[in-house]
Symmetry: C2
Subunit: 420 residues, 2 copies
DNA sequence: CCCATTATTTCGAGGGTCGAAAAAAATAGT
DNA sequence: ACTATTTTTTTCGACCCTCGAAATAATGGG
């Protein structure tokens, strides 16, 4: 519980305005007034400040008869509204995604246009501690070098990684795709690029992207479950990203499905991931020993082959997918018992076989006898995990950028009022 | 994201002051200044308003040499601080606890002194819908009738019930101790007593009490697991009560331990409660069929008999407690995977045998290989569940009362500034 | 070219917090 | 007894912020 001051009000309302502009870019002052509920006077004051700071620009007049501006019928009468838009030139932000053996980066301007984009394969498992940070820095430098808009200041960097970062977003506590623990990431990059860096979990970024893409479908509470080299989860609860207490991750994949069951990569037995992770499915489908970790890296083509075989009638393969579904359903049942039911999106290579798993997921989810029913669980699937991760990381970076922008006190103030 | 106004600042700071007074009752303005970080001027303004409203009173002078007021040595020099205290007369709040076959109530004044207290046995399972509400109302009326301080206005009622209430706190969605679903509670009581009513979960109230009693031990994130006729959980995460999304409850007891395992009261199989709930332990210890629900009500004496037998070497009994521990540990492992480890208090009649269960809880919790270690899990136990529930409900009622008090606009405002 | 209409800006009013100065209320010392 | 010193509270003016009302700006329609 912290005390408030008068200017906290301004900060808060400024943020409301900024996110309203972001969601409807461009938007007129009048629309802002109705959307936010602030008075016209306040909208003028706040947008005036933002224009002066260069975060917003006035869009060129589009003529009053413009259909877009005239919601209902008439070719409007009075003074036309002038649209305000995010100023692309205000800043750039970057997202760096570290996945198994691949690092990719995207840079967008302040209004969200992609201005650079790059991807590179690396041997993430064998890189040394410093090499990893170096590698992330290198690719960002290269990407920026290719862009003409790169001289705009970089104001925020989000690093999304498959694994667990600390709650502060400075380091990777553990990740299946690198061989180090407690790997400090943020400091090095912050110094190099002179911008705030936040290290976070890829599944969480996916949930951010889904929320951006389909807010209606996913609502205030939902989960994105990433079925890839491991199983991750991004949780949104009551409109807020929900990480762990100490870390950024909610380790859905490492909830226990069968006590003393199949060996999981985490070293314990019976985790959901040991049955529903790509290696778990492959192990089961190829008759591997459940007490031994497969060494092979399973990519999406292997998984889709397996799915194909299952559909052709391969008993072992289809059993593997069913078991995976059962494990996932079991986990969801527990999750729903704990937090109440919510929509779930399955994302990533594993989602390619969602149709094979769904019946068992639903079966194992079962009905709920107390509280809300599970029978109509909303389950969705999509495969484009990298795309979503990137998008989520960019959206998050922009939101963080908005936050930092407003916390920095008035950078310039010659000539306060000077319009004509 | 909502917009702020200037007076939101006052409201927020007023609340800061009020909770500071509550936690240190009585407290001087100077102490308030240092504790909250507000300026002396603001403290004067806010406390002035609260004094005028009758929420606070100035304590009588205690003399300046008073040791309590002079933190370090000296018999202080200057103007003495004057202590402000919550005005007991400002209001009363009540807590009504509905447990298996018993309903109890406590009323405290605004400063937290108990002014009435009553308990009554009822046959909760057979009461009709209206009878239940009537019964809660009756006992509160009787308790108030006995008290001399009852004419003070009742400003808040918290109803704590073993079971699931909706997120708004108006009704009981489901409870093992009554035979109805979606039982509307709040409306009836609100009309009868003309005070806001909040229906909540008993385990959540226990967590509120623990937080009040031992804030150091439990910190910002912890769980209270109530081992009674069923198994409930109250979760505090990052300093906030965490209920479900739609309901008030996090149903720890109905997470699945063994797929298709023992029959649970909820109608499904293999829930943690089916092994670690009182009836589950009793069923296992007496060799009952795990697929059949025991009809007997297990009270604490039965449980302590079983524990005694286990300690005497009764194999079946000690196995029952071990299985219960395994089930609880399994659930905690999943919870910790999801949310990261935190301290856990086991409360209620089941905690009487905590020593018999703890080894298996820890064994089944195991070590954690990713993220934080589980090996040093902080587990505590205490048996006085009813006492804690009551205390938590009262604390919650007082906090809610503070909230409503401040949302009511200035009741009087003749003569704004009028000191001399 | 003037009017009706809609969008924005300007201008107090009213409410908040803060720091500095003033007032209050004790104690210490002579 | 009385003054100086010390510490707590209150008062006062400066500065922020939002809001409603009035003023100003910018169009389309006659």
């Amino acid at each position: 519980m912290t005390i408030s001051r008068s200017d906290d009000v301004r900060r808060s309302n400024q943020r409301v305005i900024l996110t309203a502009v972001r969601s409807r870019n461009p938007i007129s002052r009048t629309e802002l007034r109705t959307v936010t509920g602030l008075s016209a006077a306040t909208v003028t004051a706040i947008t005036g400040e933002l224009l002066e700071n260069g975060l917003l620009v006035e869009a060129e007049q589009k003529g009053n008869g413009d259909a877009a501006n005239a919601p209902i019928g008439v070719s409007r009468r009075g003074r036309p509204q002038v649209s305000l838009a995010l100023n692309p030139e205000a800043a750039n932000v970057a997202a760096i995604i570290l996945t198994l053996n691949r690092v990719s980066v995207a840079v967008v301007d302040y209004s969200g246009n992609v201005i650079a984009d790059m991807s590179r394969s690396v041997d993430s498992q064998t890189l040394g501690r410093e090499e990893i940070v170096q590698c992330l820095a290198d690719i960002l430098v290269s990407a920026l070098a290719k862009s003409t808009a790169a001289e705009r200041p970089l104001r925020q960097i989000t690093v999304a990684v498959q694994g667990v970062s600390d709650a502060e977003g400075t380091k990777i506590q553990w990740s299946p795709i690198i061989s180090h623990r407690d790997l400090e990431i943020a400091n090095g990059l912050e110094k190099k690029f002179n911008a705030p860096v936040k290290v976070t979990n890829d599944a969480t970024m996916i949930s951010a992207a889904l929320r951006e893409l389909e807010p209606k479908r996913y609502g205030q509470s939902f989960a994105a479950i990433l079925l890839a080299h491991g199983i991750g989860m991004g949780l949104y609860l009551r409109g807020q990203t929900f990480g762990g207490i100490w870390s950024s991750a909610t380790e859905f994949g490492h909830m226990c499905y069968i006590p003393n069951g199949a060996l999981c990569r985490c070293g314990r037995h019976g985790c959901i991931e040991a049955y529903a992770g790509d290696y778990g499915i492959w192990r089961a489908a190829t008759g591997g020993d459940p007490k031994v970790m497969p060494t092979r890296n399973i990519d999406i083509s292997v998984l889709s082959d397996l799915a194909e075989r299952a559909k052709q009638g391969d008993k072992r393969a289809s059993k593997a997918f069913e078991d995976a579904g059962a494990a996932l359903g079991h986990g969801l049942r527990n999750l729903f018992a704990l937090l109440d039911p919510f929509p779930v999106a399955f994302v990533g290579s594993g989602a390619i076989a969602f149709d094979l798993m769904e019946p068992m997921i639903r079966r194992s989810l079962g009905l709920r006898n107390i509280g809300l029913s599970h029978s109509d669980a909303e389950l969705y699937s999509r495969i484009d995990d990298l795309h979503l991760t990137q998008m989520g990381a960019l959206v998050t970076a922009l939101a963080d950028c908005d936050k930092t922008v407003q916390s920095c006190r008035e950078p310039v103030n010659f000539e306060q009022a000077n319009a004509g």
